[in-house]
Symmetry: C2
Subunit: 320 residues, 2 copies
């Protein structure tokens, strides 16, 4: 992509791996796994951005990492539908308003890459289900079997959500409170970035909510809701998808900036704290000047950010 901007030395990135009720009594070992994975994801993006790489490439690479890591609810670590299957959604958008989204895909190893192919190599913006999977064949996006997406931990979460009590997997109990029906519903991964050429991009990917109805689509593939990017900012959301759709969260933040002149931080706080309800989730964002924000109204959000000024931070709870 050619850019109208001359390269400057500014870049920034923010990432998330889901928001919700995250138990603070999580075992130290599990906590460390999350911190390590968040850092690894962040480093992938930083490596691309600090040599002048493209924001879209950084976002895709980071989200692919999350999709391949079974700690997070996207790709490999996707949760189960009520029928014990996996249905994934993803989308990507850049500051030129180019965008791509896929929903209800069952056999795509990296849904974010298919979303990018929809953006770059189709005349469409959003493709769903079998049609999206057939498009994947045409553009040679890697497929995977449903077995690839099976993880013991997510299966235990499904059983717990369905009220089946024989769940005894230690790992499973250690990071989510299975007795809290809200604990499982908010997993999503995302990344936003601003590169040295002033380009921005936002991407989001998810396995949806544990025990969801087959066919349910959340906010992650909805341009304007779970993912949005324009000339002012890039936003990726995570939380109760239905609330993020009805509040058109990503676009609302961009609109507050555009029409009131608010900063990215103020606009994000308005939407997350005044329009959404406590516990709904959160967002990450970056703006054209390289600022990053990570705003949420749940007990925690797996997240990180870094920029060309030397910022580098990875957190789970409010002040961890």
């Amino acid at each position: 992509m050619n850019s109208p901007f001359k390269p400057d030395s500014i870049w920034s990135i923010a990432i998330h791996g889901g928001a919700g009720v995250i138990s603070s009594t999580m075992a130290q070992e599990v906590k460390q796994q999350y911190y390590d994975s968040l850092k690894e994801a962040l480093n992938i993006g930083v490596t691309i951005l600090k040599i002048g790489g493209n924001a879209t490439d950084a976002v895709e690479a980071v989200v692919r990492y999350f999709e391949d890591c079974d700690l997070f609810n996207a790709g490999k670590g996707s949760v189960f539908t009520r029928e014990g299957k996996h249905e994934m959604d993803a989308s990507i958008m850049n500051n030129t308003l180019k965008c791509g989204a896929v929903s209800g895909v069952t056999c795509i190893k990296n849904p974010i890459t298919l979303a990018r192919k929809v953006m770059d190599e189709s005349e469409h913006v959003h493709m769903t289900g079998i049609g999206a999977e057939r498009f994947a064949d045409e553009v040679k996006v890697e497929k995977a079997t449903q077995e690839y997406f099976f993880t013991e931990r997510r299966f235990a979460q499904l059983k717990a959500a369905q009220g089946i009590k024989e769940v005894t997997l230690d790992h499973c109990k250690s990071d989510v409170n299975l007795n809290d029906p809200q604990a499982q519903v908010k997993g999503t991964v995302g990344c936003v970035a601003r590169d040295m050429h002033g380009r921005m991009c936002a991407g989001t990917s998810t396995g949806g909510m544990t025990n969801k109805r087959p066919g349910r689509v959340g906010d992650s593939p909805i341009i304007g809701a779970g993912t949005y990017c324009n000339h002012l900012c890039a936003i990726s959301a995570t939380g109760k998808g239905e609330e993020f759709i009805r509040n058109v969260v990503g676009h609302d933040i961009a609109a507050i900036m555009e029409y009131t002149g608010a900063s990215l931080l103020d606009a994000s706080k308005t939407v997350v704290h005044k329009k959404l309800k406590p516990g709904d989730g959160g967002i990450i964002g970056c703006d054209k000047d390289g600022n990053t924000v990570l705003v949420f109204n749940s007990t925690g959000m797996f997240r990180g950010c870094a920029d060309s000024n030397g910022k580098y931070d990875v957190k789970i709870w409010k002040d961890s």
Copy 2:
């Protein structure tokens, strides 16, 4: 639905049956069919609203009429995918931010009714494909075979879009210019209404674009893009779906009203004439005070509006 408002005598409604390149040399007989159908649709809504009925009931009833009428690209009159099938999208939203959407459904006689069931009887907002169709069985929404959706006219349009020249159906040639590749892409139906209780609703339904890839989802089921409603206004869009998704058209109009204090008309003109490109399509809208707008940037839009002040109008081109 209980309303916080005392009933007043104000109601309003606007409808559309698609926008695009509509040939003004259309045969008088065909033109009359469109005017008659638009009036019939409008009258269905007016009948409900003038006795104090619910805006959501009016919108659903009007959109169902359009879906059952094979003149319009929704339900019965849906266009064909490149594989000669039908895949339909619809959504509905009211001023309490309750909403429902379905995408990629192939066997639902009235997709708008299924979208309403998603809104009223599921915990979800958007359902796609086979999962949506199975939900239809649970909530007893009427199914139809693919044969039900076959119409000679749409089949001729598919052949024309695929470059097959033996199209000779008079009816087909009379209302669209088959040599113009843009002529077929913008069919959608929609309705917005404001009832005597101050409630508002927007609904949109479509068969998508002729010769589309299987799995392609347009703006009609995307909350914020093709359909949006909040405490300020109700919007339904029709046009090049991809452009309406990337511009988050419905929510952008509402956001301009909310954050700048603009009127519905000024906000709609800003989005349709300054953000979208000429030929992209148009929108209909109503606001809480009962104003209606019908704004488009294409050569025509099948449309109508009526209100409690005696307004009653049905048009196709700019000044017809």
